[in-house]
Symmetry: C2
């Protein structure tokens, strides 16, 4: 069951029973727009504040995922959730009404990986039939939290990311389904000493490299064993650094790499700089784009690696570096999963 | 293994192999002062900022707990940790150097319960021989995060808590020890609509009540089955509300109740208002005061219920309510645990 230094191979399968994606207006205009379950008409989602909007989005994603799985909230044993806001308020306000026992998480933009890992671990251990994993981010609440309120109209450097307005929810459980989680690789904090919070791709790339290499080592696999190795939100800057770092270790992932942050927006048409980011970026891309390809067997096995930059406004104002973390989730097509 | 709606009874035991407590100067002058493993000479712990001080404290607690268990960081499979600061920076900066694969958590002051629950679940499931659970809080970093910088010398109402400067770390593992975790009850978010962030005891008491009642129901126990029912940081205000709420449900816990926030400071001598609070409060009280009593058999079984108030400065400035959450950890004396 334990594999190598950081990984677990699940003996009892943890299926991805259902998933849902809720996205903002800009995301709806992007390449994945038609694949999302729900696209906002306006980014406040009918609420008064950006934070409430994010909570509304997260609640909607949970309810949609539950509905698709034909489950009531009380049939979910535990909920694992998180977001980017201080003290995770988007999640606690978002999931409160569901009344599911919950674990609050924080792993920056790697949180969707953390939530899926813990949900998978819980199902595989027999701690319940169904778990719910949910994450979210909102462009406007994130700009306010980490940069400046939108009203200031601050300029952003080209290495900066565009936080995705979106929430992805996943029911992980024992019930057979075409996609399952077969293993996980939990990441360490990796710190190359970078201090530029406007260049998160560079801050996170070393962590992504570390987790991918560890996954290959722990499971005794090569990159060829994965149809895709999918990072969360390294973006254009982070991707090139990841390629360089991996090449330095003798591993070339160019042909199999995909980055959710580069997939969700059209860089030329949407002016999103280094690419999309945020807890919602990898989550909605997984739900809308990756899982369908795994479900129909186009991809047999992918390594999903959401990446996070562990910083706060206080830490970078104090001159601290921005370390990264990345968790690896092995997702596989399950033959006969629809029985 | 699954018990009732929210609980798990561990079939494979998860032992509390070792623990460590590091505390600030004021805590060192309090009733538990002599019981802490390490008391600061000054609350900056040799660092330049309060945030770095909190990280230094957390790192020290982890290293002490590891040393007591005669373990190296690389022998710990996963680390579960959190704190009160935005984006959990005290934890990510504190544990970074240990290079242990990590899960970042946020459950406000209930985080020590969340971390112990997940560490126990992981050990009981066979996901590794040893896990590390760590939480911290620091009076000065918390005042800055949630209220005002200390330099402002703001007055605080009597219902306000005094955030504990302290960090507690726990090695949870398979190796026999005199105390084990035999079960957990994961809490739901409970919201009575209170909006006063300076009265967290009142905000958290309903969640504590909910989790304690659920624990008794799920494990088919009465209060008499516990030597103590120990809440994290309800304080004087929260305790009286908890007693009222429990009495309303026909359960009297007065004779068995203890609150870490009321235990750690001397209310008369130390001017700490409603009592201690923070992620470190329950953790250092558990390590220094509760575990020794369980280890020597004075207490056979206690229910440890850290309580958290799920809010941020943004959420309460926007007028949102302050919901609570509480997780229950069943800790028992293990006969022959020193074999």
């Amino acid at each position: 069951m334990i594999r190598g230094a950081q990984s677990i191979a699940f003996e009892c399968p943890a299926y991805l029973v259902s998933s849902a994606s809720v996205a903002g207006t800009k995301e709806g205009e992007g390449p994945l727009g038609r694949m999302f379950d729900l696209v906002a008409k306006e980014d406040l989602f009918g609420e008064n504040t950006w934070e409430e909007a994010e909570s509304a989005m997260q609640k909607e994603a949970c309810q949609l995922a539950l509905r698709k799985a034909h489950l009531k909230p009380e049939e979910i044993r535990y909920l694992y959730g998180g977001d980017l806001l201080r003290q995770g308020v988007a999640t606690s306000r978002g999931v409160e009404a569901l009344k599911i026992p919950m674990f609050g998480l924080y792993g920056a933009c790697s949180t969707s990986g953390e939530a899926l890992a813990l949900a998978g671990m819980s199902v595989a251990a027999g701690y319940g039939d169904y778990m719910l994993a949910v994450t979210s981010s909102h462009f406007a609440s994130a700009e306010k939290e980490f940069r400046f309120p939108l009203g200031y109209a601050s300029q952003r450097p080209l290495s900066a990311h565009w936080t995705v307005t979106g929430s992805g929810a996943f029911v992980v459980g024992k019930r057979k389904s075409p996609v399952w989680i077969t293993g996980i690789t939990i990441g360490k904090i990796v710190d190359y000493g970078l201090r530029d919070s406007q260049n998160m791709g560079a801050c996170m790339a070393p962590a992504a490299c570390d987790t991918i290499l560890q996954n290959l080592k722990d499971f005794e696999r090569t990159t060829e064993d994965y149809d895709r190795i999918i990072t969360g939100d390294l973006g254009y800057v982070g991707q090139s650094i990841l390629f360089d770092l991996m090449r330095g270790k003798g591993v070339d992932i160019k042909s199999r790499h995909m980055d959710c942050g580069m997939t969700i927006f059209d860089q030329n048409l949407q002016d999103t700089h280094a690419g999309g980011s945020g807890c919602g970026c990898a989550a909605v891309t997984l739900s809308s784009y990756i899982l369908p390809k795994l479900a129909n067997g186009e991809w047999k096995r992918v390594l999903f690696v959401p990446t996070g930059a562990l910083m706060s406004t206080v830490s970078y104002n104090e001159g601290a570096s921005v370390p990264g973390i990345a968790h690896g989730i092995v997702l596989e097509h399950c033959k006969g999963g629809l029985e």
